[in-house]
């Protein structure tokens, strides 16, 4: 079954029997891909038994924050312990994506540590496949007083995930970065960092600088 898949076949015909941790399959899920009830992202990453996660292009990305009523709250990510970001909760991973993501669907994360010297572990993200009217949001909050600065959202359930999501994400980041008034907090006067997208390959110089900071 699983070891006998043939990559010349259409993905949809054989995906049910794929092992998401097979090298050839991971490439198909290197961003995110819809399948059945869920949208999946699978990455091969260096993950220590203590939970230090290193992305080869972004560096250390193991800190994970949710925005609670009184400010940011850190979720301790432990390997082999699945955890969920409940729907609607803004969350941010420093150096990974430079905004607070707001998802109408729950997001479930599983981290499998390295299996040995030179052997990467796996990071699995799975989120409910959104239905009609269900959205993803890209938000920026003042890092001093946590007032909402700027937000754009996208009706993923109606407009589809695979092709358009990343364009909308990029447009939201570019719009936020394009006007200094968006980074200025009218409530406390703090000037906030620029945003950056999930994909570092297309970082503008100022976005690349922001990625190093937050």
């Amino acid at each position: 079954m699983i070891p006998q898949f043939n990559t010349n076949e259409k993905l949809e015909r054989i995906i049910d029997d794929w092992d998401f941790f097979e090298d050839k399959v991971i490439r198909r899920f290197s961003t995110f891909r819809e399948h059945g009830d869920n949208v999946y992202g699978v990455r091969s990453r260096s993950i220590s038994p203590e939970g230090v996660i290193v992305d080869p292009k972004k560096g250390r990305v193991n800190n994970f924050y949710q925005l609670g009523p009184s400010g940011p709250e850190e979720v301790l990510r432990r390997p082999l312990t699945p955890f969920v970001v409940p729907s609607g909760n803004p969350h941010h991973i420093p150096h990974d994506f430079g905004y607070w993501h707001v998802n109408d669907m729950d997001e479930l994360y599983v981290h499998i540590p390295n299996s040995g010297e030179g052997q990467n572990g796996y990071s699995l993200v799975c989120m409910g496949n959104p239905g009609s009217g269900e959205r993803d949001g890209f938000a920026w909050y003042c890092e001093n007083c946590w007032s909402l600065l700027f937000m754009r959202d996208y009706t993923t359930g109606d407009d589809g995930f695979t092709s358009t999501f990343w364009k909308v994400e990029r447009a939201a980041v570019e719009e936020y970065n394009s006007d200094p008034r968006n980074q200025y907090c009218g409530d406390c006067g703090h000037v906030n960092q620029l945003g950056y997208t999930w994909n570092p390959a297309k970082d503008a110089p100022e976005a690349a600088a922001a990625r190093k900071v937050w």
Binding site: F21, G71, E74, P86, G88, S115, N129, E143
Partner: protein, 314 residues
């Protein structure tokens, strides 16, 4: 790289959003609810790596390989994991089987089901002989969102199956029917979830014949709203510059709780996404397409009188 989140982040209580893939010292399989997902946690240890099988569309029932792997069992497909139960299970949700094998010592296995909200509502369970022949009918367990209810119903199915088929033989191969069993149990503490916004949006619609309610103005703080029960619903009340305002205590964006939210600069601030709603107009300052539902409220002799039967439409 450095972290630069200005306010120190605090660690959140994770009991209801995390569950281990495996547990020690117990041979049962524990189901925890994490939001819209269930995590089925298996006993740790290499000796407990389960033998899992599923029935493919062509009727074959091959083993899932015992190695580190992640495998999706689509909704509707029957599967069996032999340290979980000897009954075959299928669900209305996809199931994700994750196995971790390393160095001959580390063995962790977990089954994750769900995805879309409330998709764990039905599991179908049936007995099968080793030859594949069904033993009796399939039972649909209408278990909603509660793993404990699922485990209770499954135990009842096991008892019923044994009562009906104990001592009988397989019609296809003549083998004695094995006694059914289940090692599933629910984590008593892990499936308490906070109310989601959609529930709050549904719950906070007062009836049109709701009588006026009175709240002492002296009980209100300047910087926060107050949640006031109104028959089977509730309203939010706040004071700005000596004027009372009443509103539906659910954010029109995603249903965030506004009942005891902060009031700042004449606006109530949703604690979820920080949208601010001007109490005089109800309009969201960040995104005017969102508007707060407001009710008639007036100040009489130190009492705020809220008439939740009247919506303000201007």
């Amino acid at each position: 790289m450095t972290e630069n989140l200005a306010a120190p982040a605090k660690r959140i209580p994770t009991g209801w959003i995390q569950a281990p893939m495996a547990h020690e010292g117990d041979d049962g399989v524990i189901i925890s609810r994490l939001g819209g997902y269930w995590v089925w946690s298996f006993p740790g240890g290499l000796e407990n790596v389960p033998n899992a099988r599923e029935i493919l569309d062509d009727g074959r029932a091959p083993d899932v390989p015992t190695r580190t792997s992640c495998h999706v069992i689509p909704a509707g497909r029957e599967f069996k994991v032999d340290i979980m139960s000897n009954l075959w299970i299928s669900g209305t949700a996809d199931h994700i089987l994750i196995q971790v094998i390393g160095d001959g010592e580390l063995a962790r296995c977990s089954l994750i089901s769900g995805g879309k909200q409330r998709r764990n509502s039905v599991h179908s369970v049936r007995g099968r002989c080793e030859c594949g022949e069904p033993i009796g009918a399939a039972y649909d367990l209408d278990t909603g969102e509660d793993p404990a209810a699922f485990v209770r119903e499954l135990d009842q199915v096991v008892a019923r199956h044994n009562e009906r088929h104990g001592g009988s033989t397989c019609a296809a191969c003549g083998t004695p029917v094995a006694k059914a069993w289940s090692a599933l149990r629910a984590d008593a503490g892990a499936y308490t979830v906070v109310e989601d916004g959609r529930q709050r949006l549904r719950r906070t619609i007062p009836r049109q014949d709701t009588p006026p309610v009175h709240v002492a103005a002296s009980e209100l703080r300047d910087d926060a709203a107050a949640l006031v029960p109104v028959e089977k619903s509730e309203v939010g009340v706040a004071m700005v510059d000596g004027e009372p305002y009443a509103f539906r205590p659910a954010c029109p964006h995603r249903g965030g709780p506004l009942g005891d939210a902060t009031v700042k600069n004449g606006a109530v601030v949703c604690p979820w996404h920080r949208f601010t709603f001007d109490l005089k107009t109800g309009v969201c300052r960040e995104n005017p397409r969102y508007k707060l539902w407001r009710y008639a409220a007036e100040l009489r002799d130190g009492q705020i009188v809220v008439d939740a039967s009247k919506y303000l439409t201007d």
